[in-house]
Symmetry: C2
Subunit: 347 residues, 2 copies
Amino acid sequence: MIRRVLMMATALGCLTGAAQADALRDAALQMFKPLPSTVPAVKDNPVTPEKVELGKALFFDPRLSASGVFSCYSCHNLATGGDDNMETSVGHGWQKGPRNAPTALNAVLNEAQFWDGRAEDLAAQAKGPIQAGVEMANTPEQVVLTLNSMPAYVAAFKASFPGEGEPVSFDNMAKAIEAFEATLITPAPFDAWLNGDDAALSDQAKAGLQLFIDKGCSSCHSGVNVGGHGYYPFGLVEKPGADVLPPGDKGRFAVTETADDAYVFRAAPLRNIALTAPYFHSGKVWNLSVAVEIMAESQLGESLKPEETAQMVAFLDSLTGKLPEITVPVLPPETEATPRPTSEVTR
Amino acid sequence: MIRRVLMMATALGCLTGAAQADALRDAALQMFKPLPSTVPAVKDNPVTPEKVELGKALFFDPRLSASGVFSCYSCHNLATGGDDNMETSVGHGWQKGPRNAPTALNAVLNEAQFWDGRAEDLAAQAKGPIQAGVEMANTPEQVVLTLNSMPAYVAAFKASFPGEGEPVSFDNMAKAIEAFEATLITPAPFDAWLNGDDAALSDQAKAGLQLFIDKGCSSCHSGVNVGGHGYYPFGLVEKPGADVLPPGDKGRFAVTETADDAYVFRAAPLRNIALTAPYFHSGKVWNLSVAVEIMAESQLGESLKPEETAQMVAFLDSLTGKLPEITVPVLPPETEATPRPTSEVTR
């Protein structure tokens, strides 16, 4: 008799465990989406193999910068999580950028680009750093001169934008980079779990996910990129210190000039977050646990217990994905007509 | 009868052509060597797959620099011929290095490293830029701290240097980088031709090779790297202008402190020279034809006809080789113990 009761209890326990797991997945699928199994389509920019190959070359080419020092890859280093592991990037003339470089990985799936969402897509985004005086300090005219000076680039643009009268253009450069970036999709254990593989997440990660939902993190960090869409004030409940939230950077206010948007930022996409310290737009926090605690306090008014933080971090770790294999491109050599690099700081 | 004479003449002509080709190859094989078909062995540093993989990670890792901005790859960009296409490299604090960055491709086959040959091998070489204040501005202690802070690196050093008590060391870092660089061998049309493929070189390239030998270029630029061994004064017959040969840089004199070594440099290895403008230790000449003419005048007292220069350049183009496929490594993320990047210029 005792044995039968024990057996029943075990069976019930199992059922409850399985039901709980299903309930958690059901809840998760209401707010998150696994990564697609194919390269995402990009609006007004068909992703062709030619364009991806060209975009990869451009992404790796330091000659897109005035100095010849920086490429897209410099600050969006594909070997280190798609960012540069710095508070804010170092650019032309050793100047520092104003905000932490976000990862290029899965960025194609963000609703908009930059911390303040001021670029509607990656093509628009790509044009920013190339022209920014503190980053690559180049001009569209100079970039087009550079690209036109190398016959292999001209041929690649023709192949990537067939039928166009002027295939080599700053706009098409940006579109090719966007097409390459669309391939930077990193499926993670969390995706495997969302897709039905119970063993893909540890119990601790599952507990972390449950907390992530229950505490309200997923109100802002949701969707396929666990963030990356929607704008929210940093310091909803309690403003973090000026070190983490410098008063000079009012976030989306600079884009919309609406008082409501002061200190409003795009919710950070959390895929590969364990690879992309330091955190926040200010890049002031290196420790993921500390970042989680700051978020809980400032956005939710919650003080997490150490074990809760650890569970949350275990969940975030499950968002670290697998980079597609990327071979270093072979770039065309300069010609007599290629503008020469200059390290001068003129603006 | 006339027909018979013509046929004989044609046959003789063919024979002569073939004999000439053989003679040229015989002469070439006296002074040049094709690249090996396997990764070269490295003295006191067995090249194992584990070590190559570790070395690749280190080569790509910007955290070897104090600022986190520069990796070996920054100035020895494998996408652009193994160098950085700049007069002299830009480094820590936007400072400029004193000499043009040489290519890392095939460098393992040079007799010694740097323009003045001051490093006996690539392991010794690798330690230089990491510590140079104007390049990566780091210290061996800080590098070892950085590597020890990331468990994946510690494991990779253990696997690469089995049985060693302290596998994570600055010396072993350099050895791993050397092992990776030993794989950067780029077989070129010239190798195919040396190996017997008559069609691998155009007639113009063959004429250029003949000139290269006849005029005396191959007295200094010989061996497997068509240079890269032996030290010779720049301006043997006639010193080039101060723009190309700045009086402040006395070359190998700084290494040997021997008056004879003033303005003496290691003969540049010429493989992939078409990819690695600008030229000379000063990096002042962007055009390969101009570089060839300067060499002919300053070293040989020869004024080349334009068609001779074109032939010589066609031969040099045949030294452009095929890079092995290199996938971007996935580097371990920082931990709490990893020293943070600093862009400060302290020395």
